[in-house]
Amino acid sequence: MGIGIKSMEYEDFGDNESLELIKKTGGNVFLSSIDSLLNWGRSNSIWPLTFATSCCGIEMMAAGASRHDFARFGIEVYRASPRQADVIVVAGTIVHKMVPVLKRLYDQMPDPKYVIAMGACAVSGGPFFYNSYSVVRGVDHVIPVDVYIPGCPPRPEALLYGVMQLQRKIKGESISSPVETDTDKLL
């Protein structure tokens, strides 16, 4: 039995195979019922950090505004402080000068924390992959990424889909085996 979201069924999503790898099965009855309660709360109130470096930030704003309105999915208020944020949507290019700032912002966020790499620049360097001397080729060189959203820039619908995938990922977590978010392992 896979994880769907409200009116969107399990089969409607892509990447179900990779989600199955993360999802823990079994466990005792007590823990799994606490898990489902915690995950329900966490996944439906993801607060993003206002962190936009370039063009994708405009589409992120559009996703939060009137037509697309991603408050419907619980990704409700933009927080200006990383202390209050659950997810950092890396919307835009990250250059070498920005890396220490991004790393610090990520470290300042309280656990559990999630990262969405929005747009080609954050995924891989995008249009600046070749010939640029200052662009980091993908934000996953700096912080661990949960969901990748390709596009230059991705449509707001793509961001909505990415957020829904993140919610499904959260719903598959368990407190008995927390997901590693320690960046030191990565470096």
């Binding site: 559009a62 000068k97 070749y130």
Partner: protein, 375 residues
């Protein structure tokens, strides 16, 4: 004379109280960092630090062909992407001595103005949001989506549409283009008064922007401030009037000029420009001539050796493109004179002596797009 106007040397003292605004700050509209020195609540001086989104676009241009450069210019000032494209295309067309069809000129001009309206709408909602009026954000982006629908139908993308190519357009516009544009104009004419009712007349808003961040005409000239920010200080700097390109010589429109030079004047200029842009579109949209959507161009573009220069009016000011070619298919040097870079450095003059709470209003009124500063 210029020494009196430009305070270029800032003396730091050891007892200065420094706070950093940014690089991650919602009102810097990106990743700009202000080093602000405070004396109580008053700003003593302010130093902008740039480079947090420096992607080396000018250097990348030297390895790209002219068709590829178009896509990079989109990502500089992403809110006037179409106008940036046009600047590069015009340089190439001038160097190759290609006469673009009339149809292309008309369509480009209409798209420029649609892009300008979309950009000013986004500025309006971001400015409102900076000053605490969150409703403005929803109103502005609601209307902006209607323009994006027109773009999407014709080019398939919402924000960055590399629709211009050297010699013309990528393909012809959608058959619905004229109808949708006219629908939008009638729609937005009704909605624009709402903006005034919501924000312009609001007493809290007026108290925060009136008399704040005064910029004299001399200062605007000395710092090279252009676009709506310069026109708020009575500086007639509209490239569409000074050196008309596209179909701007065929239309009647006014250059909005304000004499006050404060934040509210810059606000009013942009509000007025939205009306003027609609006037331009109305004059052109019914008269788009039939014809080809592109002139005949060779698949490999090699500019003759020499230097080429062209400037356009983006939503934020004067964008100039300077190309040095040595006869190859890639430029030898490509330089962009971006409006935001010049507009940014007047910040110290506007903010020094004022309160720190006004800083957000001033930087919002200059309408900075950070990737255009850093490039």
């Amino acid at each position: 004379m210029s020494e009196e106007i430009i305070k270029d040397v800032i003396v730091r003292e050891s007892e200065d109280y420094i706070i950093n605004m940014g690089p991650q700050h919602p009102s810097t509209h990106g990743v700009l960092r202000f080093e602000v020195c405070l004396k109580g609540e008053t700003v003593k001086y302010l130093i902008p630090h740039i480079g947090y989104i420096h992607r080396g676009i000018e250097k990348m241009c030297e390895a790209d062909t002219y068709q590829q450069i178009i896509h990079l210019t989109d990502r500089m000032d992403y809110l006037s992407a179409h106008i940036n494209n046009e600047a590069v295309c015009m340089v190439v067309e001038e160097a190759m001595q290609v006469e673009v069809p009339e149809r292309v000129k008309y369509i480009r001009t209409i798209l420029d103005e649609l892009n300008r309206i979309a950009s000013h709408q986004l500025w309006w909602c971001a400015f409102g949001m900076d000053l605490g009026a969150l409703t403005a954000f929803f109103y502005g982006l609601r209307d902006r989506e209607h323009i994006l629908d027109i773009f999407e139908e014709s080019f398939g993308s919402r924000l960055l549409h590399s629709f211009n190519t050297p010699g013309g357009l990528m393909h012809d516009v959608h058959p619905n283009f004229q109808k949708r544009t006219k629908e939008f104009i009638t729609y937005f004419r009704k909605k624009l008064p709402e903006y005034d009712q919501l924000l312009t007349g609001n007493i809290i808003f007026q108290e925060r922007v009136k008399g704040v961040g005064y910029m004299s005409r001399e200062k605007a000239i000395a710092y090279g401030v252009t676009g709506p920010s310069g026109r708020g200080s009575n500086l007639a700097c509209d490239i569409r009037k000074i050196a008309p390109y596209g179909a701007y010589d065929k239309v009647q429109f006014d250059e909005i000029l304000m004499t006050e030079g404060d934040t509210f004047a810059r606000y009013q200029v942009r509000m007025g420009e939205m009306l003027e842009s609609m006037k331009i579109i109305e004059q052109l949209v019914d008269n788009i001539p039939e014809g080809d959507f592109t002139a005949k161009m060779k698949p490999i573009i090699k500019l003759p050796a020499g230097e080429y220069f062209k400037r356009v009016e983006t939503a934020r000011g004067e964008l100039a493109v300077y190309v040095v070619s040595d006869g190859n298919k890639t430029p030898y040097r490509m330089k962009f004179r971006s409006p935001n870079f010049s507009n940014l450095f007047v910040m110290n003059e506007l903010a020094a002596g004022g309160k720190i709470a006004d800083l957000v209003a001033i930087s919002g009124s200059l309408d900075l797009v950070i990737p255009d500063i850093d490039r």
